[in-house]
Symmetry: C4
Subunit: 242 residues, 4 copies
């Protein structure tokens, strides 16, 4: 497997398993608990733990973006120093992330004996939810790239996991913060789903949040023109830039 | 942006987002859960996670005080060795923290489609609650500055997050422990709010707690005359002292 | 005690206490809580914490496998470089793990005044549960050996604990992921039990999951032909290979 | 203050605040939640977080024993190499721990507007509870001193916190595992209390557990004849041995 193929496979697998964690724990929580807050707590705790572990094990291969806005921000921040993803790699990453996310939803549905593909009926389109999604994504982008600016990338897995786990509660949108995951969650008509009609709004809000996050980063860490590959976790030698 | 402006912006943003986390997760918990303890557990878990992450990412810029009593203690402890905040910087920090805290409450209300400003009706003034607030703040000051005395500042983000998360339960006041956050929480008539009439008592109790905490610190770590900038997290080179 | 005897004793004790944690916290959760999801949350949190601590303290003695599929994968991955468990040591490990697991279930039952041995009546045999068990075990094997491939073994205790805690919710099988623990859990007719008739299916699913995990590992970390003794935690000098 | 006085003060304060955390969060949990398991989860989470933080900040001063059986084991293990607590220091530690524990219970009661001293009516004397207490204490002693044997003392705060948090659920006794804390908890007639008549049995079970834990340690780490001062956390230079 070529280095780029291996990196894309890691993004496919990582984004897929992230959606499996999100959707699967959502199905379990809905089946097992009555209280809506307790369901979200179970969903958030499983997601925080699973996401942190996925970053730990796949970061050295691909940077563990698992998220088109993270890859896009990496491309943007590294464009001058040529340390970010190239345009071609960016496209490959986003494709693998999105296909992986859909696969992860199908796997979760299969594990819980649900129809493998069922469009979610859960509409999420109120303006205040979109504001929540802007805040959630701005925060995520700031967390990831500030860690690079501060040379604290070894803290990334647990910091990102803790951030997302907390944001399930402190944002009104329960913090999707990820266009690929948003698409994947449309494929499962369960607790963590989102109706396809609400997807474009969420994705636009996430893009807007990324812009806000990059703006805050520029104010706080003006020298942080770095690549997310080095941000999320340092890469091992075999993963040459493509 | 000047170094001092950048540091103040970090204090503004960090204190603001901390209040967004506290108030936002409180609104979510109140809306989603019935049991009062479960609500507080959700609120505490989100706060602990969010606070730890904010300290990780903003500590290198400003020291991540997010709290007037921490800045004041830093000023006091470093007054002889001139390693603490100067009087002018202290004033700027406290102002940015307080304005940020109010902004954070407004943002949380907006995300959850609440009135942007509504005075809290939640009175918190019983003597035993004030004792709880003294204990909470004494503990927080001791935790932060003992970490410096023990040269364990890299543990600060997770230790401070864990401390506050635990103190939501083991103190009777649910551990505000922060005058700026206390002011901010008066601006939201939701789960985590505090009636304006109760704010002065809480702030006085927090100041008393800071004195107790500094007294314990002097007994345990007599040599800890250090600056909180170096306590919470070591600063990067670009943030010159102002 | 010979080095091999000491290692086997650590596997016996560690697997035993792991089952004590799983079964004991399951009994407590069932006795104390009504909501099925809350019971699983209590069970998952105690298991994640207990497993992480057991790996921290016993890893330096035996590698802290506590799991026949981990030992088997270690043997398989290290067969060419002769860095894995020998066939004889593998047999000793699996035996000690299995006997320990049964002892751990008996101890948990005794602590909670249950009959020391009572076959579980809890059937777990639906195909989607077996798929869940394949996913759970594939993930566990990937987590453990990817940490070695990435030279991040110091993260193993907390990563493995977090993984299993999350997988209690995101897999449909609640993530046994361990043939020895599966056998042990058949000996207790309580919350975490599994009917003996369902054990063979679970063990086969776990073996299939291990194969899937090793396949993913080969794609992601082609150079990771390493021994799990060095994976889970580096060994101290006194534990010579046997 | 002499070095020994400072160390004893740290043991007094740390054990006291530990009981404040245990009893205080128990009172809060009982007042706020209905479900018994949820109450214990809140109590366990607050205790785990608070204990870990107390070890982080007070370990460098006194070793953060907070527990007579830990001090006793330290004395026993270091008796030949003269690296453990001297007999005189042991006596001072145990006295300070016990007085602190009582003070901590009084403080918790005061914070929650309870009678400052009220004997607990909560009898805990069934044989299976005593077995639970043996297991809990054996595990605690093994965790603390195995970390020294494995030269992993920097993990002690979080490992000990996680262990106790998990053991609240996986032992039938909810894991007191500490004679001083057991005495302190007799002084509060609340959720975490223990009737005075049940105290001697619990203390004897804890001593028996310590013996079991030391036996396991001798099998697993035969060279671990070390002082707990160096176990829990390395001491700073100013705290000379007394």
């Amino acid at each position: 497997m070529s280095p780029l193929a291996r990196r894309c496979f890691a993004e496919f697998l990582g984004t897929g398993l992230l959606v499996t964690v999100v959707v699967g724990s959502g199905i379990a929580a809905q089946a097992l608990s009555i209280d809506a807050g307790l369901r979200l707590l179970e969903n958030a705790a499983a997601t925080a733990a699973g996401l942190a572990v996925l970053i730990v094990i796949l970061g050295p291969v691909s940077g563990a973006h698992f998220n088109p806005v993270v890859s896009l921000a990496d491309h943007y921040l590294g464009r001058r120093t040529r340390t970010g993803l190239s345009g071609r790699t960016l496209g490959a990453y986003v494709l693998c992330q999105t296909v992986g996310a859909i696969g992860g939803a199908v796997l979760a549905d299969a594990m819980f004996a649900k129809a493998p593909v069922a469009w979610s009926q859960h509409r999420r389109s109120s303006p205040h939810l979109l504001l929540g999604e802007v805040v959630a994504t701005a925060g995520l982008v700031l967390v990831i790239f500030a860690l690079a600016g501060a040379k604290r990338t070894s803290q990334a897995p647990w910091a990102v996991g803790a951030y997302i786990g907390g944001a399930y509660f402190f944002t009104s949108s329960t913090s999707f913060a990820n266009p690929a995951v948003t698409v994947g969650r449309a494929f499962s008509n369960t607790f963590a789903g989102i109706a396809p009609v609400s997807v474009p709004g969420f994705v636009l809000a996430e893009l807007a949040g990324a812009v806000v996050g990059l703006g805050l980063l520029a104010l706080l860490y003006p020298a942080a023109g770095v690549a997310a590959d080095d941000v999320v976790v340092p890469q091992v030698g075999t993963s040459a830039r493509a």
